[in-house]
């Protein structure tokens, strides 16, 4: 079985309207993959940055997968939320990115988007916050049911991922 190590961190996020942010993250894989060690989902702390507008989480990721096939390569999906001083949370963005498939160190900027409601919902959102959310988070990393969705662009999440691959060449994978 080939093995994949994902060692890195979710560094932080920038480009959002407010900067008191936290992130719920998870890794989704196909059926041939087995998680040997590590946590494949989690939630970062809430960061209120003093300098600049980038929120820093430095949330560590250390995953060890074993696989029998290349299908279903791991995908990291994210939900960025804003928490205000009263502790209320508001959805700020969904995003996903594939885990890199080449060994080494990678710095990735994952873009995010937010569902857009009708103009009445947008007006209400301007005053009291809130807004539409996805019923099922599967749409974040799958393209199957998106064709009726209206969304707006939000900020981006910085990731630093180190990839170690083992025995992929024995199975004939090039590179």
């Amino acid at each position: 079985m080939a093995e994949l190590h994902i060692i890195g961190q979710i560094v932080g996020a920038s480009g959002f309207p407010e900067s008191s942010l936290f992130c719920k993250w998870g890794v989704h894989t196909g059926g041939a993959w087995r998680l040997l060690s590590g946590l494949k989902e989690g939630q970062t702390q809430v960061d209120i940055p003093q300098i600049g507008d980038m929120a820093y989480w430095s949330h560590p990721i250390d995953l060890h997968y074993a696989t029998k096939g290349l299908q279903g390569w791991p995908k990291l999906h994210l939900q960025v939320w804003h928490q205000d001083s009263f502790g209320r949370s508001q959805m700020y963005g969904y995003g996903y990115c594939h885990v890199p498939s080449s060994p080494g160190h990678h710095r990735i900027s994952c873009v995010t988007w937010r569902p857009l409601g009708s103009w009445q919902e947008q007006l209400a959102q301007m005053f009291i916050g809130g807004g539409p959310q996805l019923r099922s988070p599967d749409i974040i990393y799958s393209g199957a049911d998106r064709y009726r969705l209206n969304t707006e662009a939000m900020g981006s999440v910085e990731l630093e991922l180190g990839i170690i691959m083992r025995h992929f060449d024995k199975y004939g994978v090039d590179g």
């Binding site: 961190q9 809430v46 300098i51 820093y56 560590p60 250390d62 160190h105 630093e160």
Partner: protein, 199 residues
Amino acid sequence: MATSNPSVFLLSVNGQIQGANFPEFDHLYCKFCFVYGHDWVPTAGLEEGITQITCKGKQSPHTLIWNFPLETTFKSTNPSGWPQLVLSVYGPDVFGNDVVRGYGATHIPITPGQHTRSVPMFVPEPTWRLQKFTSWLLGRRPEYTDPKVVAHGEGREVTRVRSQGFVTVSFHIMTKDMKKLGYDVGPSGAENTPGWAAE
């Protein structure tokens, strides 16, 4: 030293804690330690230490310099639990008490070669305003009982933090026998992670 079928690989970390960028604070020192998984054992060098106390210079008013050496070697059978460098920066407050100015953690780079990391530093934030005021008055900021918690991802959902500075660390990494055990860590070489520009 030469073995035809190694069962462990070695990770050699040489580097330094160069300095820090904290716009609002001065007279800081840094404590560091390594956090690693069950399969890892440090074989040489220090696992933890404290730097000197440094102040901002007159030439570059935003830069604090420690230039503190890091020399450690680890051995392991498994890349899971790859070591992380955990940093905690302390400094005096208005009344002279030593308070924490930032916690941060970064993974030791996985590829051989030279690397520079700019580690964001954050402090736990009291949740309500009266607690903020009394902590400022008494000089007792919230602190982690064990700084190593910043290297773990569990249990962070309920914490609120404030990021207020960066520490610059440079690494020179060497590994031994990772290729023989079948691990591919990609091309080695220098890369820089752009962070807060030191002025």
